[in-house]
């Protein structure tokens, strides 16, 4: 459920953020995330930025691999 899209924040203003995914831009709500800044990566769902993420890709998975596998 809940298709998520990781995207880069390119603009912030007053509760909304413009996010960019491969050049496709759209305004989403940033009301659930404090302190967003242009350049941050967020997970977007249904027009709302629901989580700040450390990177747009899944490179962190490497650490998990090392830790558990």
């Amino acid at each position: 459920m809940c298709v998520g899209l990781s995207a880069k924040v390119v603009k912030i203003s007053n509760g909304t953020a413009v996010i960019d995914a491969g050049g496709a831009k759209r305004e989403v709500s940033s009301q659930l995330l404090e302190d967003l800044e242009p350049g941050d990566y967020v997970m977007v769902h249904a027009g709302v930025a629901i989580a700040k993420i450390t990177d747009e890709d899944d490179s962190e998975t490497d650490q998990l691999m090392e830790e558990f596998l």
Partner: protein, 335 residues
Amino acid sequence: MENKTVTMAHGAGGKQTSELIDQVFKAHFANADLTADDAAVLTPPVGRMAVSTDGFIVSPAFFPGGNIGKLSICGTVNDLACMGAKPLYLTCAFVIEEGFPMEKLEEIASAMEKTAKEAGVHIVSGDTKVAGKGQVDGVFITTTGIGEIQDGVTVGGELAKPGDAIIVTGDIGRHGCTILLEREDFGIEADVTSDCAPLWGTVKAVMDTTHNLHVIRDATRGGVGTVLYEIAGQSNVGIRLNAAAVPVQPEVKGVCGMLGLEPLYLACEGRLVIMAPKEEAEDIVETLRKCPYSAEAAIIGEVIADEPGRVVMETEIGTQALLPQPGGELLPRIC
């Protein structure tokens, strides 16, 4: 035109119908074969003749990269080209909503003129109906084309053979993505324009490179994915697609990511899927890359004997999975 809009009187068959035809359509379409009579009188094609028809109801009628007029020529010219036929003659029938701006109609006619010229096709006969306000949305155009099948090449959806390379002539899904962004108010901004283009020149160039071709198909409604499934079915072969090799503009990918859509199922209006024996593939791609509308041509897969009727893709993890079959209406999804 004295009138700023199309009125019911323009469709009544009297003086004003003639005025509209003369001042808008004849003004743009004039050529030696165009008729004002009930039917055009023409020299038939030599050899075998290809005939194709398509209705165009795109909404909005104007979009980045073209309009319904350009589209209505490209669609039919490309269908002829896909049979290896040189487009000779074309008819067009308009259904126009009462109140449609005359200026827009002129713009449409002008795009048709330009595109027909580029494709080398003569518009020979037309028809104009005016529908009452609300009876039709803007303007619909139906074109029918007649082409002369070129000697020495036989292509068809049933002729794909295991071992064929599958080539796509450029990045996919731009037309569908453009229309989606224009039509529904999804609030997405992306620099995407329709790939709409007349492709007889492209097909001709490929046919001049080799006669050893099996399938040429324009990936319109339903996109490349639908075409692949169609051909897999018609030729009773499997298709192995290298998903990573399919050219997709990043913006199109981004839009698809947001809306949960598969680019392989977005319409193109200027892209061909070509299947030909593997040994011809490199030459064909090289030729295509020199043509104006296929600089990004790529080999995206091959025809296989296994899995007849199916399209399998290699996945990121090295497994194989089916491409989901073409479904119904494209519906942006949230889950």
